[in-house]
């Protein structure tokens, strides 16, 4: 009898709480639909898959949008619907939509199984959304794994390309290893608190910390969890998978795997550091600062020597992540309170970075010809003659990556550095400023190749209208967020900030 009642209660709760996970369910349903219908489509109908995927993302985004302003926790407190979730959810969905649009032509020219590709993208997005709203260790772990597994497959999608087999294998092996470390850290947290719920754990950690400030278990938990998540974020020294995995993948998938993974990882990191590990803030600030500086250093100096565009962008993305992490460092004031400026800077950086970095990867994808990736620096030569549209779009993305004014990248760097100055992390501010210079060098190498070199015998890139639409929208956003940043700043501020004002 008891059993029956509790089942009823569970159903009742599921019925009541279901609306809070509609965005994720939408993505999963559409992903499955693609898998099931793909087999019955003939070659000419294959592009319907992309359409289905776009619809899935659109429905999911609509559901998410309808939730804006809601503050609720459902499913026994394991899911949190708050502005933070809406913000990151929208970033993920926009990223997914853009990547789908960019990938339409690639899968056509390469003749790979499109259906699977788009389904995996939707599954990855499902995992990312759950990672942003998860308030429970198990849910977070599963969400991150759904995302990561999709990325392992996506990055090895071009089975005929040798590079597309080596990189993903490295990615998967090290990825699974890092997940194991993450699981280990989660288990320590569970052991400490006797619960998998983040709110309970946060309370327990705070209690233990006030009793024994030198509680080594909490630090071990922090270290292992940070290692696991920093791997997803691709921060140094957990970055080795990035260049290899990205080099072999089609650029759209590469962008998704690096930027999507970083954004989702960052959402989890924010929730954990500013929630569960907040009592340890004085310690983790230094750890994150060290990782940020290391990422900047390794990413920058490795990018200088690259001659492959994708590898260059991959290493430079490690450096860019360093800036986001510096924003995270600047969330902690000297007196141990949360700095709104730092959080807002990290949020704005992540929001705009995911736009213009994806754009840059998208342009590389345009250069692809049948069976050939065309992703060497030489392939950019004289692009302005061969395709002025592509050259101008790429110019916008690269200027933004380099942090030149009137683009979003400049405002993002400005916000991070000024947040560092405000929170009196002067040495870090100096480091952040100085690393802008080598970045200018390697991004302008690409710009010089496109604009100041004569075209060789390379073909003119063909741009599909879906790619034109996606890239044009991203370039417009990059410029808009650089020239009129106020709305974007406010969006980041209102969404990212609210849950963390202790």
């Amino acid at each position: 009898m008891d059993q029956l009642v509790s089942w009823q209660a569970v159903f009742e709760q599921a019925r009541r709480d279901f609306p809070s996970i509609v965005p994720e369910v939408m993505l999963a349903v559409f992903g499955l639909a693609i898998l099931f219908t793909d087999g019955s489509l003939n070659a000419r109908q294959k592009s319907w898959n992309a359409l289905t995927a776009i619809f899935g993302v659109a429905f999911s985004a609509t559901a998410l949008w309808l939730m804006s302003g809601v503050q609720a926790s459902t499913f026994d407190n394991s899911i949190l619907v708050d502005p933070f979730f809406i913000f990151f959810g929208l970033v993920f969905l926009v990223l997914t939509a853009v990547v789908i649009l960019l990938s339409v032509r690639t899968s056509e020219t390469e003749g790979e199984r499109q259906g699977l590709q788009f389904a995996l993208m939707l599954f990855a997005a499902t995992g990312m959304l759950f990672a942003a709203c998860g308030n429970d260790l198990v849910l977070l772990f599963v969400a991150l794994e759904i995302m990561a597994t999709s990325f392992y497959v996506l990055s090895g999608f071009l089975r005929d390309d040798r590079r597309s087999n080596e990189g993903p294998l490295k990615f998967a092996v090290t990825g699974i290893f890092s997940s194991a470390i993450l699981a280990y850290g989660f288990s320590i947290l569970y052991g400490l608190a006797g619960s998998t719920n983040l709110a309970v754990i946060a309370q327990k950690i705070a209690e233990r910390h006030s009793q024994w400030p030198a509680d080594s278990l909490a630090y071990v938990a922090f270290a292992t969890i940070a290692a696991g998540i920093l791997f997803k974020i691709a921060a140094a020294p957990f970055h080795q998978w990035v260049p290899d995995a990205l080099e072999g993948a089609p650029a759209g998938c590469a962008a998704f795997a690096s930027i999507g993974s970083a954004a989702a990882g960052f959402a989890v990191l924010l929730r954990l550091l500013l929630g569960v590990f907040w009592p340890l803030a004085a310690a983790w600030v230094w750890a994150i600062a060290a990782v940020a500086v290391l990422s900047l250093t390794i990413g920058t100096f490795a990018a200088i020597t690259q001659s492959n565009i994708k590898r260059l962008l991959a290493y430079s993305s490690i450096a860019q992540i360093g800036y986001v992490l510096l924003g995270l460092v600047a969330t902690v004031n000297k007196d141990g309170t949360v700095s709104t400026r730092g959080l807002r800077a990290a949020g704005y950086y992540l929001l705009t970075y995911s736009v213009f970095a994806t754009g840059a990867f998208g342009i590389v994808e345009l250069l692809r010809r049948k069976g050939m990736a065309a992703d060497e620096l030489d392939d950019l030569h004289g692009l302005v003659r061969r395709s002025p549209v592509a050259a101008i779009l790429m110019l916008v993305f690269l200027l933004s990556l380099a942090g030149v004014p009137l683009t979003a990248g400049f405002v993002a760097k400005l916000m991070v550095i000024s947040a560092l100055v405000e929170t009196q992390h002067s040495p870090l501010a100096i480091v952040a400023v100085l690393y802008m210079l080598p970045a200018v060098y390697f991004y302008f190498r690409m710009i010089a190749a496109m604009w100041a070199r004569e075209p060789g015998d390379a073909m003119n890139p063909a741009i599909a209208w879906t790619q034109e639409l996606a890239l044009g929208a991203m370039a417009a956003t990059t410029l808009a967020a650089g020239i009129f940043p106020e709305q974007f700043v406010r969006f980041a501020q209102s969404s990212v900030l609210r849950p963390f004002l202790h």
Binding site: L399, A448, P485, E486
Partner: protein
């Protein structure tokens, strides 16, 4: 009241930008159309800026910044879109619009490929430079500063000479290295004062010494690299050797001035204690630039490189005058900026004209141009004399006023600078002699005869510069009048002891020192009652 008179500055600032956007939209096949559109927008900008001349109030009791326009831009970061104009920026803006229009017009034939991009970048460059001179918000200033450098990079990298790619990179990395440090200084000011508003900070300069000294060096690197001051000058001759003629002209005449303007607007009046404390150091660097630049220019084998070193030497005069921290020195520094802008722009354009006809800038391959190109030779000698400080021409007014300002501190410094004047004169005159009279070592008579004299169009570009050079040499009074008030304010902030001491004396000094032959007029403005005593 005057401060809110419309959006004239925004119009002047954005006209070239609109022109650049129009050029990018136009179909790329109509080369002649691009040319007309670009010239049209540059002329429009010049006309708009001319209206400033009779609406500007130069009197000492007029507001410090006029034609102000103040809009909210990024409120959550405290950054505003604030423009304003004082006497110093007025002359800089006028110089920019005049030289910008001339430089764009002068590239009628030399740019044969991708004209639309070229003109769009030239117009963008002009907006950047105008923005530097007009911004009254530190972050806005930085935005235009970088915009200028990036536009310049593209102009060199795409349309430069053989080694354009390398030199353009060198230019960009050098100048940006300074600017990123400046960005840090700007953010530190914003943190310390909770505002980026230049007016606010000028009204209450930074007075915490531990902060001030760092800020001074932060700005110093950005400006000293662009000016260029002594140890940071190595990029310039190389870049000037490679850049196309019109870009060289803009670089020598306006970009370098933007660096000097930075000292004048930010370093000196915002950080008065630091400026005062490091004065001797800056003066020594300036003197090294004057003498060393002139000496090196003697040894150059290429016209454009020689001119580059010569302008390096003249920029030394500008910084020398400014860091003398005396009213005469500052006024002279600004006038030297203008004079250097006019003469160097003309000389680089002339070098470009020679290059178009003879396809070389190596001095030994040129020669005997005077007989073949008499009009060219005439303008060339006027501009050479203007550059080396011949009385009756603009260079003299500038250098002489600077020297008078410096003598007031110590005669030894002025003496050192005089050595530089002599050397610079030798170098430029020797260049003239070799290019105009000597015979080229490896050219035949027919080749040198093949050099056609200036056509009507080229004359139309150069004559205004000649007229300006004579005007500043003969009748600089309006310039002094415009510069008087802002310069007084700066000296009062940075060198209060001097300005008090010399309140009575300076007038007599001026009247005495004004030499009759050049009819150097005393400042026309009635001496305002120095401050509110």
């Amino acid at each position: 009241m005057i401060f809110s008179s419309g959006e004239i500055l925004t119009t002047i600032l954005l006209t070239p930008l609109v022109g650049a956007a129009v050029l990018l939209i136009l179909p790329s096949v109509r080369a002649d159309l691009h040319l007309r559109v670009a010239n049209g927008f540059a002329a429009l900008d010049l006309l708009a800026s001319l209206t400033l001349l009779w609406r500007f109030h130069a009197a000492g009791d007029a507001p410090r910044f006029q034609f102000g326009s103040d809009h909210s831009w990024i409120p959550s970061l405290g950054v505003r879109f604030t423009l304003g104009l004082d006497g110093i920026s007025l002359v800089m803006v006028m110089l920019t619009t005049v030289l910008g229009a001339i430089a764009i017009a002068s590239t009628l034939r030399s740019i044969r490929q991708r004209g639309s991009h070229y003109y769009a970048l030239m117009l963008l460059l002009q907006t950047g430079l105008l923005g530097i001179f007009l911004s009254l918000d530190l972050v806005l200033f930085y935005v235009f500063w970088e915009l200028t450098l990036v536009a310049m990079y593209f102009l060199i990298a795409i349309w430069g000479g053989e080694r354009r790619s390398y030199t353009a990179f060198k230019f960009l990395l050098y100048t940006l290295a300074g600017s990123v440090v400046m960005l840090l200084a700007i953010l530190a000011i914003g943190h310390a004062r909770d505002t980026f508003d230049v007016r606010e900070i000028l009204a209450h300069p930074i007075a915490q010494w531990h902060l001030e000294k760092w800020l001074f060096w932060g700005f110093f690197f950005a400006f000293a690299i662009v000016v260029p001051m002594f140890p940071f000058h190595t990029w310039m001759p190389e870049v000037q050797g490679e850049a196309p003629a019109a870009v060289s002209a803009i670089l020598a005449a306006l970009l370098l001035n933007a660096g000097v303007y930075g000292f004048l607007r930010f370093s000196v009046p915002m950080l008065p204690d630091a400026a005062h404390k490091y004065r001797s150091f800056m003066i020594v660097l300036s003197l090294i630039a004057i003498v060393y630049g002139a000496l090196t220019s003697l040894m150059q084998k290429e016209t454009k490189r020689l001119m580059a070193y010569s302008s390096f030497s003249q920029m030394g005069f500008c910084t020398l005058g400014i860091f003398s921290l005396t009213p005469l020195g500052l006024e002279g520094g600004v006038i030297e900026q203008i004079s250097c802008g006019i003469s160097m722009a003309a000389l680089f354009l002339l070098a470009g004209i020679v290059y178009e006809r003879r396809h070389t800038t190596t001095i030994s391959e040129l020669g005997g141009l005077a007989s073949a190109m008499p009009k060219f030779a005439a303008i060339y000698i006027v501009m050479t004399l203007a550059a080396l400080g011949m009385p009756l021409l603009c260079g003299f007014t500038g250098e002489f006023t600077v020297l008078r300002g410096v003598v007031a501190i110590h005669w030894g410094w002025a003496a050192c600078a005089l050595i530089g004047v002599v050397l610079a004169a030798a170098s430029l005159l020797w260049l003239y002699q070799r290019v105009m009279f000597g015979s080229a070592s490896d050219t035949t008579e027919s080749e040198s005869g093949g050099a056609v004299d200036l056509n009507r169009f080229e004359l139309a570009c150069l004559i205004p510069l000649v007229l300006l050079a004579f005007w500043i040499g003969l009748y600089p009074r309006p310039l002094f009048r415009v510069l008087d008030a802002p310069v007084k304010r700066i000296v009062e902030a940075v060198n209060p002891a001097y300005s008090r001491e010399a309140a009575g004396e300076s007038l007599t000094l001026r009247a005495l020192a004004a030499p009759p032959p050049t009819s150097m007029p005393p400042s026309g403005a009635p001496a305002p009652p120095a401050g509110a005593k």
